[in-house]
C-alpha cells in the first residue's frame, strides 16, 4: 500500500510540477488537459488527504488552481475534519497564487455552479486580504465583478459603483478609479493606470504602440517589462524599457536569454552570463557551492524547442539547471548533446543521442549525474536506457555516482513525465530554482528517502500553514 501510494504520489507530483495543459512538442493542448484532468480525478478519488496536502508542495499554478477547484467542487465527499484542513490549505495556497489565477478560478467555480457557504467564505477572505480593492477593480475588473456577484461580496462603495455602474458618478474620490474614469476621455490619465488596463484604452484613443510603451514604462510589472523587451526593440524604443536583469528569476531569465538572436547573445555575453550567474546564486542561497561534484547531461536536440506556446521552454530549463547546478556544486561540468563552448549560445537542433553523452558523464566520476531531457532518446532509440541498465547492473558500486533525470515535459499518454530507465528516478521540473526540492523528490521516488510519507507530508503542511510559503528546501539532501 505504501509503495503504491509512493508511486502514485511521485507520478502526480511529476504531473503537477511539469504540466501546464499547453501544447507540447509531441502532443496537443487538448490531450494534455484531458490527461491531466483524469489524473487529478484519480488521485483525488483515491488519496484525498494526500491530494490536498500537495498544495503545500512546490507544484505549478495551474495545478494548484485545479486542486483547489476540485476540492471545493467535491466538498460533500469530505468529512468535517478533512474539510477544516482543506479549507486552511486552500486559503494558504490562494495567498501565494497570482491574483489573475485566482480570479480565473473564481470564474470557473461560477461556471461549475459551485457556490456553497464555504466557497463564498474562502472567496470573501481572499478578496478581503487583497491590498487594494480599487486597484483590482481596474486591473482585474471582470474577475472582481464575477467574484463579487458569485460570493455576494460587500465591496467599498466606490468600488462597487465602478464595477457595476461606472458612468453614473461625475467623479470618484479614489484616485485610481478617477484616473480610470478620466482615461476613457483623456489620454493623459491613461498613464496612471496599470499596463493591461491602459492597453485597450490606448488602442481606443489611437495612440501608437511606440508612444504608449514609452509613456507607460514606469507602470510595468517585472514580468511585463521582460515580456515587452522585444516589442520595444521592434518599435525602436530600446532605451525606454530599460530593466534590471538582476531581479528576474533564473528560469524566466533563461527564457528571455534564449529568445534573443544568437549574435546579440554573443554581443551581450558578459552581461547575460553575469545575470544568469547572479540569479542562480540568489536561488541557491546558503547552499551555494556546498554540494558534491556534479555533471549534467543537457538535451539541446530539436525537441527542446517545445512548441509555439512554450517556445524553447525545455531548452531554457536545461540552461537554467546548468547555471543552478554550477552555483550549487563545488565542481560542476555541463555536457550538451550537440552544443560545444559557451552555453549561452545553445540552440535546439539535431537528434537526441543521450546514450553516449551519458557515458561521457559517467567517465568523469562525479557524485551525481543530472540528466535534463524530455525523455525521448532516439539516436539510437533506447541507448540511454541500456547504458543506465548496464551501469546499474554491472558497473556501479554502492558509493558510486547516482543518476537523476529531470524532465520538463508532461506526457499525456502515460500520465507522467517520460522515464529514461526504470533504474533512474524521473522527476518533473518546471523551474530550475526548485532543483534542491526535486532532488529530495528523486530520492523519495527511488525509495531511498527515509521516513514515512504521511509523516513527511504532515510536516510540510504544518510548515506551509505556519509560514505561508511553499518553498521549503531540505538542507542539502545530498
Amino acid at each position: 500500500m505504501e509503495r503504491v501510494a509512493r508511486e502514485d504520489l511521485v507520478m502526480f507530483m511529476n504531473a503537477a510540477i511539469a504540466s501546464t495543459g499547453q501544447r507540447e512538442f509531441r502532443s496537443g493542448a487538448a490531450e494534455q488537459r484531458m490527461s491531466l484532468e483524469f489524473l487529478h480525478e484519480y488521485v483525488m478519488g483515491n488519496y484525498r488527504d494526500l491530494y490536498a496536502s500537495t498544495l503545500a508542495l512546490e507544484i505549478n499554478h495551474l495545478n494548484a488552481v485545479m486542486i483547489v477547484t476540485n476540492l471545493l467542487r467535491t466538498a460533500s465527499e469530505a468529512g468535517p475534519e478533512q474539510r477544516e484542513r482543506e479549507g486552511r490549505l486552500i486559503a494558504a495556497r490562494l495567498g501565494t497564487l497570482p491574483p489573475q489565477r485566482v480570479y480565473a478560478m473564481i470564474r470557473r467555480l461560477r461556471r461549475l455552479k459551485v457556490n456553497n457557504r464555504r466557497t463564498r467564505a474562502i472567496i470573501r477572505d481572499w478578496v478581503k486580504a487583497r491590498p487594494d480593492p480599487a486597484f483590482d477593480a481596474v486591473k482585474y475588473r471582470r474577475g472582481l465583478s464575477v467574484a463579487a456577484r458569485h460570493a455576494h461580496l460587500a465591496l467599498p462603495d466606490e468600488v462597487g459603483t465602478a464595477l457595476f455602474d461606472w458612468r453614473r458618478p461625475k467623479r470618484y474620490e479614489t484616485p485610481i478609479l478617477e484616473s480610470w474614469r478620466r482615461a476613457h476621455y483623456e489620454q493623459r490619465a491613461l498613464y496612471d493606470l496599470p499596463y493591461t488596463a491602459a492597453e485597450g484604452l490606448a488602442a481606443r484613443h489611437g495612440i501608437t504602440r511606440a508612444r504608449f510603451l514609452k509613456q507607460i514604462a514606469p507602470n510595468l510589472t517585472g514580468g511585463e517589462r521582460l515580456r515587452l523587451q522585444e516589442t520595444a526593440e521592434r518599435n525602436h524604443q530600446t532605451g525606454a524599457l530599460s530593466m534590471d536583469l538582476g531581479r528576474v528569476p533564473l528560469t524566466r531569465l533563461a527564457i528571455y536569454v534564449l529568445s534573443l538572436p544568437r549574435d546579440e547573445r554573443a554581443r551581450r555575453r558578459d552581461e547575460l552570463t553575469g545575470a544568469l550567474r547572479d540569479a542562480a546564486e540568489r536561488a541557491a542561497g546558503r547552499w551555494a557551492g556546498a554540494w558534491d561534484p556534479m555533471v549534467a547531461v543537457l538535451d539541446d536536440s530539436y525537441s527542446a524547442y517545445g512548441s509555439g506556446v512554450k517556445r524553447r521552454r525545455p531548452l531554457a530549463v536545461a540552461l537554467a539547471v546548468h547555471f543552478m547546478l554550477e552555483a550549487l556544486s563545488r565542481n560542476y561540468t555541463g555536457l550538451w548533446l550537440h552544443h560545444r563552448g559557451d552555453p549561452l549560445l545553445v540552440h535546439p537542433i539535431g537528434a537526441t543521442g543521450l546514450g553516449e553523452r551519458l557515458v561521457d558523464a559517467l567517465e568523469l566520476r562525479p557524485a551525481h549525474v543530472v540528466v535534463v531531457s524530455d525523455g525521448w532518446d532516439n539516436a539510437p532509440p533506447g541507448l540511454a536506457a541500456e547504458v543506465l541498465r548496464v551501469w546499474h547492473r554491472r558497473l556501479r558500486r554502492s558509493s558510486d555516482t547516482s543518476v537523476v533525470h529531470f524532465n520538463p515535459v508532461y506526457e499525456a499518454d502515460t500520465f507522467d513525465v517520460r522515464h529514461l530507465s526504470p533504474h533512474v528516478p524521473s522527476i518533473g521540473i518546471r523551474d530550475a530554482e526548485s532543483a534542491p526540492e526535486l532532488f529530495w523528490l528523486a530520492e523519495y521516488a527511488a525509495g531511498e528517502a527515509d521516513g514515512e510519507l504521511n509523516h513527511y507530508l504532515n510536516e510540510r503542511v504544518q510548515k506551509f500553514l505556519r509560514t505561508g510559503k511553499e518553498k521549503w528546501w531540505t538542507p542539502s539532501p545530498i
Binding site: 536536440s301 537528434a351 546514450g355 553516449e356 557515458v359 539510437p380 532509440p381 541500456e386 547504458v387 551501469w391
Partner: protein, 375 residues
Amino acid sequence: MDALADLIAGPAQVWGAVRLVPLMRDEPVTGLRLHARLHPDEQISVVSTGPRRAYVSYVPHSFVASWGEDGLPAAAFGTQLVDPEASPRGIPLTFRRRPARREDRRRLRFLPLHLAVEGFLALEFAGPPIAWEEWTHRAVTQGLSPRAEAAYNGGAIDGLDDALRIFEIHPDQCGMVLYVADALAAAFVVPHPDDYRALHRTLLSDFYGELIYQYALMYPAVADFTARLDDARITDLAGLRREIGRSRAEWTSFHTLMAGGLREHRATPVYTMGRFTLSRSLPSFDPDVENHLGETITDDEGRLAYLKTFRLSAAQTRRGHLLSTLAAYDWRLDETAAALGTDRQGLVMRLDRAGFGHLLRPEIIDACRAAARRR
C-alpha cells in the same frame, strides 16, 4: 540499392506507424543545389510531355536544380507562381511546359516524382505496334490514351504530418527513407544537408501509393528497434563504449537490409546538366516483390546526388507487368498468355480487370466474359 552505398543510415525515429530513417553523407555532393518552388494550392496542372501529349495532375511544388561552380549561393527565390491566365471559376488549371525544363543556363526546373510517374504512365503508351485483329482500331491508332493512375497526397497519410513535424533532423542529414508499417514507402536523397532541411517538409506534399495509405490507416504503431547491449562483455566504462560502437555498426547494416527492396532496373536519362544526369527508372514489375518508380540525379562518377521514389501498389504493379509482357511479345495474345502461364481467355479477363478492356474488340471481350460466366 547500390546507389545508396555512399549514404550512411542513421538510427530510425518512429511515430505511430511511420518509421523515418535518416541518411547521412560524410561529404555533401558539391556543385548541385536543389530548392523547392511552391505552387498555389489546389490547382490541377497540365504538363505537356510531347507533341499533342499532356500529363494532368495536382502538382504542389517543383524543384529547381542549380549547378555550376562549387559554393554556389543557395538563395531561395520565387516561392509562389500565380498564373494570370487561370480562370477564377471552376477548377483552376495551370499549364506547365514539360516535367523537366531548363529555366536558365545553369538552372533546371523539374516536377519531383511526376517525372517518374510520367515514365510509368507512358509505359507502352503507344499501344500495339501491329494491328492484330483482337485490338480495336482506337487502341492501334491512339494507344492507351487516356491513361490514369491514382495516388494519395502525403497529408492524407495518417500520422505522416506529425511524424515529419517532430522528426529531429541530423546536422549532416542528406536524405530519408520512409517506412509505413515497416513497408518501404519512399526514399528521398538530396545533395546537401541545407537542401534537405529546406525540402524536409515537401515530403508531406508528395504523393504515396494506395498501399501506404491503407497501412497507415490500419496499423496503430510499429515498435522501435531499441539498442541492445550485451552486458556480459562489459566490465568497465571503456568496454561500455566499445559495445556502443559495435551496436552502432549493427544498425547501419540492418538498414541496408531494410532498404533492400529499392532496386532500380531500367534507368532512362532525361536531362543532362553539366556533369549531372537527371534520369528516371522503372522497376521490373515483378508482382512478387516491391516495385519502386524512381528518379535520380547522378554525377559523372556515379555518385547519387538526388533520389526520389514512389512505391507502386499491387494493382499498379500488375498493370505494369501486363503491359510490359504484352510489349515483349509484340502484343500477341496467345504468346503473352503462354508466357504468363494462362490461356487466351484468362489473359483477356486479366486485361479487363486491370482496366485495359477497352483496348480489345468488344466481341472478344464479350465471348470471354460469357465463357467465364458459364464455367
